[in-house]
Amino acid sequence: MKYALFLGCTIPVRGQNYEMSAREVAKELGIEFVDLADFSCCGFPVKSTNAEASLIIAARNIAIAAKKGEKICTLCNACTSVLTEANKELSENKEIREKVNKELGKIGLEFKPGVEIKHFSRILYEDIGIEKISKKIKKDLSKLSISVHYGCHYLRPSELYDCFDDAENPSTVENLVAVTGAAVIDYKNKLECCGGAILGVEEDIALSMAKQKLDNVTANKVDALVTICPFCSIMYEDNQRKIESKFNVEYNLPVLYYPQVLGLALGIDQKKLGFRLNKVKAKVVLDKAGVEI
């Protein structure tokens, strides 16, 4: 199983623990990642300014993968939705495809339908599968209690994702956590957005959105919140101190990327999973997992 790894903007400079752990987990489960140097931004950050520019940038990335005959594995939810949406739109609509290809022609590329694009968590769930993963588990994480934040663009718009999960009542990532032996703790308003996309527009609103999530997750006794998107993680982890001081609350809630948790269960050294880079220290998690720090 081979995929071109699409990192996007945030992960390679601000979410290296996600990248490190995803690469380690992939290796362990027999997924080969190829790095294509020409992959750029997915296009999401310019969509609000100009949807056509976003579409062309997305198409450019897909065309680069197609040229090498590779499928795309994404780690960021926003990259997943923008690339998948462009892939669908350009595959189904000849008129738009011709227009976009005129632009891509200027840089020596062409969009052709047929490139598969999937989020890493979806690949783990659909293509590797819970059963195969369960056979590879070496470490019992049953002392851990974990809540999951899916992030909007992993599930919605649901028409993009062939209903591989239920957008109103998702279970894929929670099943992926459960296979490690950790207890999955449900919580109020699990589907609510992190607010990341409007952090630069109105910080107060975005931080209030993230606060609600942190309140709802910590209303239960949990050891960590698991995310699968770098921007959700920035909202809950990088901004956690800011939220704590702004609202005079205390969470001290470790926020882990899913492959970090799976990596521990697969017996991978925590150093290779980038735990040192987590801003809210996950000592409790590592202790309960019986891992030496």
Binding site: L7, C9, T10, P12, V13, R14, Q16, E19, M20, R23, D35, A37, D38, S40, C41, P45, V46, K47, S48, T49, N50, A51, E52, A53, L55, I56, I57, R60, S81, E103, K106, I107, C152, H153, R156, P157, S158, A167, E168, L191, E192, C193, G195, G196, A197, I198, G200, V201, E202, I205, A206, S208, M209, Q212, K272, G274
Partner: protein
């Protein structure tokens, strides 16, 4: 008070012609969008049902000059739940795109567009970043993308990338 002389009855057609804007006329104002909106839950000034209503009424200038169109967090909850398939998230994008063309772009999005057009990414990658990546055992990443700069120059409104 709405002044009917200031309304632009063609605004809804203008929005409908944008990418993803086509279904705006289907709205029957049920409010499913606003009821499930996580931004509205925090701050009442963002109200998707009201924004759609304003567009359908033709309140062009009011909508395009507003701060509220930039507050959609693009969570797609309303998009998924709308019984009429109005595709609200795409309509908010369409409104932001028209506003950007008319010079009302929010500074945060202007900066994002500037960064992507200059560096091909949302962040400028420095030597420091690639050194850090090397220490972590990760491959280096490319710093500039001339072809993205070209795409941006050909497609984005001029005042955005200057």
């Amino acid at each position: 008070m709405i002044d009917s002389k200031k309304l632009d009855p063609n605004f809804k057609y203008e929005v409908a012609a944008e990418i993803g804007g086509a279904n705006i006329n289907r709205c029957f104002a049920c409010g499913t969008c606003t009821a499930g909106c996580p931004v509205r839950e925090i701050d009442e000034k963002y109200n998707p049902r009201k924004i759609i209503r304003m567009v359908l009424l033709g309140m062009r200038e009011h909508v395009l000059k507003s701060d509220f169109i930039w507050l959609c967090s693009t969570c797609y909850t309303c998009y998924d739940r709308c019984p009429q398939g109005v595709q609200l998230t795409s309509i908010m994008t369409a409104l932001k795109n028209i506003a950007a063309r008319e010079g009302y772009i929010h500074p945060s999005f202007k900066e994002q567009a500037r960064l992507v057009s200059k560096f091909g990414r949302l962040y400028e990658v420095e030597d420091f970043d690639n050194k850090k990546r090397e220490k972590l055992g990760l491959p280096p990443i490319k710093k500039n993308f001339d072809d993205i700069t070209k795409i941006a120059k050909d497609t984005l409104p001029k005042e955005v990338i200057e």
